[in-house]
Amino acid sequence: MASNEEILAGLAEIVNEETGLAPESVELDKSFTEDLDIDSISMMTIVVNAEEKFGVRIPDEEVKNLKTVGDAVSFIAGAQA
């Protein structure tokens, strides 16, 4: 099971692949839409890739609650537990 740090690093890699954003700009307090300028389609791509990477299920209705990178890390950590 991945630690929070590992989840953050993995997410940063996925975000970098989808958007080209530098992995170090993907920080816990960053908002996906406001700070990272990620649109809804990119968000779904990131979600799908995160599911595969971390072996978790992120339901559609949960996606809109994942406002910040930290929200996503917490959700994934919880879902893995």
Partner: protein, 353 residues
């Protein structure tokens, strides 16, 4: 009492596409046109969808008219007469009659009567469903030649002011003739449905709702109570989708189905000349290409940029354009996959005509 053994028709070992045709209606709708109706921009639409223009049909052009245009070209390329058709199949969700079918009228117009004719309601997977049917009919010996048409006039079922799907959609028709072949020309179909997502894409109301609301509105009009009239201003059913759910399903689940279509055909992505997915959204196409790890050598159909999403017509239209622009692809293998409202999907590997 001895039961006589039933005689069976001689079967055909294989089938293939022997003719292809397209009809693109001539009204061009640009992103700037769309932005008169929704608060958006050319840049936003291009970035989210890859769509630059859509072709739409004029008011006096019907689904059957477009189907006929595509079918005549396909018959000509196949080098057969309409009278030789053993079945006429039209995949559509926009023929505006629950009955009779578009296919029966099309068969008559083409001169294919009395060929069996029927419509398939499988939305954006309709063309691949039609290919699955035609392949089975030809190989079973039920028909020698089968016409499959994907034809849609989606502009009749959109609401220009909503933003989930209408701005993506275009009109058009594509047709193929399937016939017997000495070598396999159509791989096994990977097709299916997931009705648990029935609500993900569909119409805003049923025909019964339209009936009941129009009756109620007429009564309220007669009684001088106009409140209901306001409510029924958007009486006509139009399409809606839950974009996020559909996007995720399309990218994630459909890439798996496309992979399966390769496997059951006994080939790998390296053997493909072309990938022709349903033209739903450029971003979906891009993601599928990544998930399938298609090599650079595979030509990817991206007709959506000019044509928009034409549902059942999108794959044959995209195939037609691909072959026009890259005639050397003829005879090569193409992976095609359709997916849409139902939810339903269908995929197969075909030999390009």
């Amino acid at each position: 009492m001895s039961v006589p053994t039933l005689k069976q028709l001689p079967v055909n070992q294989h089938s293939r596409i022997i003719g292809l045709g397209a009809f693109r209606p001539d009204v061009i709708v640009t992103n700037d046109d769309v932005c008169q109706w929704i608060d958006s921009s050319d840049e936003w639409i291009r970035q989210r969808t890859g769509i630059v223009t859509r072709h739409r049909a004029a008011a006096n052009v019907s689904v059957i008219d477009m189907a006929e245009g595509a079918a005549r070209e396909a018959l000509q390329q196949a080098g057969i007469e309409a009278s030789q058709l053993g079945a006429v199949i039209v995949s559509t969700v926009t023929h505006p009659y629950a009955t009779p079918s578009a296919a029966a009228a099309l068969a008559d117009r083409l001169g294919a009567t009395p060929a069996p004719a029927f419509d398939i309601s499988a939305a954006c997977a309709g063309y691949c469903y039609g290919i699955a049917q035609a392949d089975a009919l030809v190989r079973a010996g039920t028909a020698t030649y089968v016409l499959v048409v994907g034809a849609e006039k989606l502009s009749d079922v959109i609401d220009n002011h909503e933003r989930t799907i209408s701005f993506l959609l275009g009109d058009g028709a594509g047709a193929v003739v399937i016939g017997p072949s000495d070598t396999p020309g159509i791989g096994p179909s990977v097709w299916g449905s997931d009705g648990s997502k029935w609500d993900a894409i569909g119409m805003t109301r049923s025909m019964l709702d339209v009936r009941d609301l129009s009756i109620a509105a007429r009564q309220s009009d007669e009684s001088g109570d106009f409140a209901l009239l306001e409510e029924v201003q958007d009486l006509w059913p139009t399409l809606r989708q839950d974009g996020q759910t559909v996007f995720r399903w399309a990218v994630w689940e459909m890439a798996k189905m496309a992979q399966q279509a390769l496997e059951v055909a006994g080939i790998t992505a390296d053997d493909l000349a072309a990938f022709i997915p349903h033209q739903a959204n450029m971003r979906i196409i891009d993601e599928m290409v990544k998930k399938l790890k298609l090599p650079e050598s595979v030509t990817v159909a991206r007709d959506i940029a000019d044509a928009g999403n034409t549902s059942a017509a999108s794959i044959p239209l995209a195939t037609h354009r691909l072959l026009k622009e890259n005639p050397e692809l003829s005879g090569g293998l193409a992976l095609q996959i359709g997916f849409g409202a139902g939810l339903v999907f269908g995929a197969q590997v075909i030999v390009l005509p």
